[in-house]
């Protein structure tokens, strides 16, 4: 595998994050950002207790974020466990909203490759538009980088044209050097998107990790011309933080990545905070949480 070691300095990364996050986004630019954030959300439910009813509600919410307010975008996708794909498919059939399914023994990935490939095949056959796989962190930490890359490549083979998001679970990789290297491996091996976290490990997406991954995407694009997408996931529940991430994308990758085709937020409760902010910008007051559906 052709790979170049890219060193990451943690202190410098944190400083860059602080500077990006100090951008002051107000007025029209805030409205624009908030609507863009909405359109980039992968509305997520990944609980063992998820029921068909809950997934149906989530799908309806995805398509009708807040009908009282005109001209709102829908979210980009809903993200569910494999067994929920057919249920979501039924509700979302006539919409542009994608269905993303987690697979490969999410969230730990602790099973054999055959089982993982079967699972991927199952969700692809069920009609998922996107697959969110996890990498084998144990193998990565043991230095078995070829194994990690092979696994991703084989999953991508099964996916075919279905979009593959590769979850690095950065909370378990710990260092930014690891995050960068895992990003590079995932892109070379065939990821369409790289994604920070499952949401099941703390910390999930952190600003320095997201910046390092965006920089990896930028370098890969400049080297190969391939545009890889990015998805921070977990712990992003406030509009302010989401806008700060957009600033990061804008100033690292530029205009071409400011679209749901190449940037997503994996989040369950972010949408309502964004909606609340959009309504505040137009009405001047914050409305009670009771006005926003919690599906």
């Amino acid at each position: 595998m052709e790979m170049y070691i890219n060193h990451i300095d943690q202190v410098g990364t944190q400083e860059r994050v602080a500077r990006l996050f100090s951008r002051s986004i107000k007025k029209e630019s805030k409205i624009h950002a908030l609507k863009t954030v909405l359109s980039m959300i992968d509305l997520t439910t990944l609980e063992g207790k998820d029921s068909p009813g809950k997934v149906k509600q989530l799908c309806y919410k995805a398509a009708h974020l807040h009908d009282q307010f005109p001209d709102l975008p829908t979210v980009a996708a809903i993200c569910v466990y494999p067994t929920m794909v057919p249920i979501a498919k039924k509700v979302l059939e006539k919409t542009d909203i994608n269905i993303a399914a987690v697979a490969t023994a999410f969230p730990s990935g602790m099973t054999s490759l055959d089982y993982k490939l079967d699972e991927v095949k199952m969700v692809v056959d069920a009609g998922a538009d996107e697959v969110d796989m996890v990498i084998s962190r144990g193998k990565f930490l043991r230095g078995e980088y070829e194994y990690v890359a092979d696994e991703i490549a084989q999953v991508k083979d099964v996916c075919g044209t279905v979009h593959l998001k590769v979850i690095l679970e950065t909370g378990e990789l710990v260092t930014l050097d690891n995050v960068r290297f895992a990003s590079d491996i995932a892109m070379v091996a065939g990821a369409d998107f790289i994604k920070t976290s499952t949401g099941k490990v703390s910390p999930a997406a952190t600003p320095p990790v997201v910046l390092v991954m965006l920089e990896a995407i930028r370098d890969y694009y400049k080297k190969t011309g391939k545009m890889i997408g990015m998805k921070p996931a977990g712990g992003i529940s406030k509009a302010k933080l989401a806008i700060q991430y957009l600033v990061m994308v804008r100033e690292t990758l530029g205009q071409d990545w400011l679209t749901s085709d190449l940037f997503r937020f994996g989040a369950s409760s972010l949408a309502n905070d964004v909606l609340m902010q959009i309504l505040k910008q137009t009405t001047g007051v914050y409305q009670s949480g009771n006005y926003f559906s919690i599906d």
Partner: protein
């Protein structure tokens, strides 16, 4: 690494809306007098000069111009305060006054930041987050030393020198005032301070704070004017010490004037720092360090990393990333919170920058500038870099004091050390590498007062700052910063 053909598009449909810092709470006196003996008094000859906002060329205020007679008055007030009050005061009491000044600056930090940005053109992000916090930190730091001088110099007594004449530059107006005033006051000296003529306003606000802090009259006197006022101060027979920050050219004149006198002096002068990027550096953070090194405060920084050395194997990557990063720098209204690069401090400085860029082009350098739009009114210059230059080019040798970077490549550690030291200056430098041993080797070999490793332009009151060679003599900051203001007996 491989060549890079793909470009990133930073012209987006998501423009940041203006986010200007409010100026409503700011009060600037229309006519500002001299601050002598604790009072604001008109100049003897009654002449005033204008200070303008370099971002829009609008007049901010009239400022009294100090002539010889005014300098005499100020020095006399300082002498009297020294003899009768300040040198006799218990050190802990002196410390209390300095702590009070530090606290009052903190309380009015936003006001100081806004005025600093209006008068100097620097972005509010810097005046608010860097300049003003460092100002109060400096006063706090030296306030602490006031009653601990016997620990600073064990076995010796640290006696004050007398009256210090302090001349400060326009690039960090209030911060340089703090660097000068705090150690002088802590050690028991009195002061006549002359700010730069293009940026007199924050020092005058500081005079208000000094009144409010109830500092005994005459301990700090602040007079304004241009070179002639400074000269009168330097040549005044009753001054015991001169502290100057500014150009090497003026520094040399001061040294000549000092020769044969009993006056002590410290000089903090120009620089042409080498910022060295090795192939094993964390490249993205190094690029950020290059940006911070040369574009901080529009490049009006004596320790700016204006000579960039990049190891050949990563040069293409680094320069490509650098150009991308330059596109995202926001140039414009200094009071806008999103502004990265503000206005050039004065017309004179802008002309100087333009002159050097012309020289660079005529010498055959390859110029690249960020595509940002510059405001019509005011003094502006786009972030600029030059490739294809060498140690023989004037833009590599001479201090431009603007947002202009000269880039050279190198192959070996020894080569870059030789080139880095091949300059009459020696104020600062930067080393970027993931290898600790290389940091030690290079930073020991480079003759400069400050060496930053994997960072750039970091300041702390506890850390001494000053130059080798033509970058000056004496240190400011830290325990070393006390030395120029004491006689050890």
């Amino acid at each position: 690494m491989t060549s890079t053909t793909k470009t990133l598009d930073f012209k987006t449909d998501w423009e940041y809306s203006p986010a200007p810092e409010s100026t409503e709470h700011i009060h600037i006196e229309k006519k500002n007098n001299l601050f002598i003996n604790g009072e604001f008094i008109p100049p003897v000859k009654g002449t005033y000069f204008e200070t303008i906002n370099p971002a829009n060329e609008e007049k901010l205020a009239d400022v009294a111009k100090a002539e010889q007679a005014d300098v005499d008055k100020a020095v006399k007030a300082a002498r009297s305060a020294y003899d009768k009050v300040w040198s006799k005061m218990k050190p802990a009491e002196r410390g209390k006054y300095i702590y009070r000044i530090a606290r009052l600056i903190q309380e009015r930090a936003r006001e100081f930041a806004v005025i600093e940005s209006m008068d100097s053109g620097k972005p509010i992000r810097e005046s608010r987050d860097i300049d003003i916090p460092l100002v109060s930190a400096h006063f706090f730091y030296y306030a602490g030393w006031a009653d601990k001088l016997e620990y600073a110099f064990p076995g010796k007594q640290a006696k004050p020198i007398g009256v210090a004449g302090q001349i400060i530059p326009w690039n960090f107006p209030l911060l340089m005032a703090a660097w000068k005033l705090a150690p002088a006051l802590a050690t028991g000296n009195t002061v006549v301070l002359k700010p730069a003529e293009t940026t007199p306003l924050t020092a005058l606000k500081l005079a208000e704070i000094i009144q409010e802090a109830d500092l005994p009259p005459g301990v700090v006197n602040i007079i304004n004017g241009a070179g002639k006022t400074g000269q009168a101060l330097v040549e005044h027979p009753d001054i015991d010490k001169i502290a100057f920050t500014g150009s090497t050219e003026v520094g040399k004149l001061i040294m000549k004037a000092m020769a044969g006198t009993r006056k002590k002096y410290t000089l903090e002068l120009g620089g042409k720092a080498a910022n060295i990027i090795f192939e094993d550096a964390a490249i993205d953070q190094a690029v950020e360090g290059i940006i911070n090194g040369i574009f901080f405060n529009q490049g009006h920084v004596c320790c700016a990393g204006s000579r960039l050395f990049v190891q050949e194997s990563v040069a293409e990557t680094v320069i490509s990333k650098l150009k991308d990063r330059m596109e995202t720098l926001v140039v414009g209204d200094p009071l806008d919170k999103n502004t990265d690069i503000g206005a050039i401090n004065s017309k004179m400085q802008l002309d100087k920058i333009k002159m050097y860029v012309d020289i660079g082009k005529n010498e055959g350098g390859t110029i690249h500038q960020s595509s940002c739009k510059l405001p019509k009114k005011g003094y502006w210059y786009a972030p600029t870099l030059f490739e294809d230059v060498s140690q023989s080019h004037r833009i590599v040798q001479e201090e431009i004091f603007g947002p202009v970077l000269a880039i050279q490549t190198f192959r070996t550690v020894d080569e870059v050390i030789t080139k880095a030291n091949n300059t009459p200056y020696g104020l600062s430098g930067g080393v970027w590498t993931d290898k600790g041993a290389k940091i030690f080797k290079v930073s020991k070999a480079i003759r400069a007062g400050v060496l930053w490793a994997n960072t750039f332009n970091k300041f702390d009151p506890a850390s001494p700052f000053g130059g080798y060679k033509e970058s000056g003599m004496g240190r400011e900051g830290g325990l070393e910063g006390l030395m120029p203001y004491v006689n050890l007996v």
